[in-house]
Symmetry: C2
DNA sequence: ATAGTTAATGACCGAGTAGTCAGCAAGTGA
DNA sequence: TCACTTGCTGACTACTCGGTCATTAACTAT
């Protein structure tokens, strides 16, 4: 009565494989990761992997999508339903949301997109539409609301969303390239938010 | 009396090869670029390339170094010798220096470092010491001078250099990933500088 | 001229890897 | 328990690409 050599788990395999792929890509990047590695990490054979994903590239896209979904949407929901003053919302939930990004899977995805994006235009489009555009729009709408309420000055700069993102981006990149050279990303982001608020406050 | 099939040009070959390699890496990234491609672009045989560069990785390092040299040094020199007030220097030479970065070869190198850096720690160290550390130090020293002269407030934030770099970094990344989705990097950087200046002015 | 030096060539090799497929065995139902 | 479906395996193939090296031909010195 020995253990069966494997179990058939059609439902769970894809998730497990994308999770394993994410880890592998995070460590080595897409190009340097072997499909065999991913399979081994997921505890399956290479053949099975190819049953669920037509090509390595297909797998790559699945990984990006798996990370992206639902992250921004939650923020947007918050923006729309919050009872806080604009100021408090920015210093509170928005700030802590931003501070979490550099250490999150999103940072990994950004790295992958930088490295491989130029070769996968449709993936970039997908990411732009589902994450970037949404995020930018949400922040813009929020600032507009602040203006309407008289909390912010009328002339509030139009590239505010990008200015808010900038230190987050820097933190992400820093973490990727100069792992060891520490950088206090939390204060960096907080300081920027601070500067921006005093700049646009009515 | 036919043309010779090739000329012996020992002096020029390395430069030509690194230039060709830069172009190739810029287009496809390091991993996806074939040595044969680089050779073809440079108008030489693969064998010759291997006469001047021991390995593909060696070539990669040469490319990075060729872009890096002398760029930051010139800025540092300016910082140290300028007669302008801190304010004017920042709004003038420093700003225009920063605005040029996103479209310059440095942007390409950043992309390469993000994609391949984790696999080439010594290269990252080289880049950090010769570009990043120098640049940060120069800006810090400059701010300190401004404080001494009474132009800036004492408490001028310590991560100012990073804050200055942030929008530059964002612009670089944006340009790499979302080539088509335009972003007015010049105003973005200028606005940030503006914000920072009003923030630290005495 | 001509012998010697070496920049330059390109066919070749072997390691490594994305993707395939014939067969196996875990689950299923009668 | 036995036939049947199908999730799963892993050896295999076809091919790509970094790196080598025997050979060639452009230069140089005498």
């Amino acid at each position: 009565m020995t253990e069966p050599r494997y179990r058939r788990r059609k439902e769970d395999r894809p998730k497990e494989i994308t999770a394993a792929a994410f880890d592998a890509f995070a460590e080595k990047g897409f190009a340097a990761t072997r499909v065999d590695d991913v399979a081994k990490r997921a505890g399956v054979s290479k053949g099975l992997l190819y049953l669920y994903f037509k090509t390595k590239e297909e797998l790559f896209k699945a990984v990006v999508k798996s990370v992206v979904i639902r992250r921004v949407d939650r923020l947007i929901e918050n923006v729309e339903t919050t009872e806080l003053s604009s100021d408090n919302f920015i210093r509170g939930p928005l700030l802590s949301f931003l501070q979490k990004i550099p250490g999150s899977p999103v940072a990994i995805v950004i790295r992958l997109l930088i490295a491989e994006g130029p070769r996968h235009p449709d993936l970039v489009d997908y990411y732009y539409e589902n994450v970037v555009a949404k995020g930018l729009a949400a922040i813009s709408a929020f600032v507009k609301r602040g203006v309407d309420r008289g909390e912010f000055r009328q002339s509030s700069v139009s590239d505010l969303p990008h200015l808010i993102l900038a230190p987050v981006m820097l933190s992400i990149i820093w973490g990727i390239i100069f792992k060891d050279k520490q950088l206090d990303t939390d204060t960096l982001i907080a300081t920027q938010i601070d500067m921006i608020l005093t700049h646009i406050k009515a």
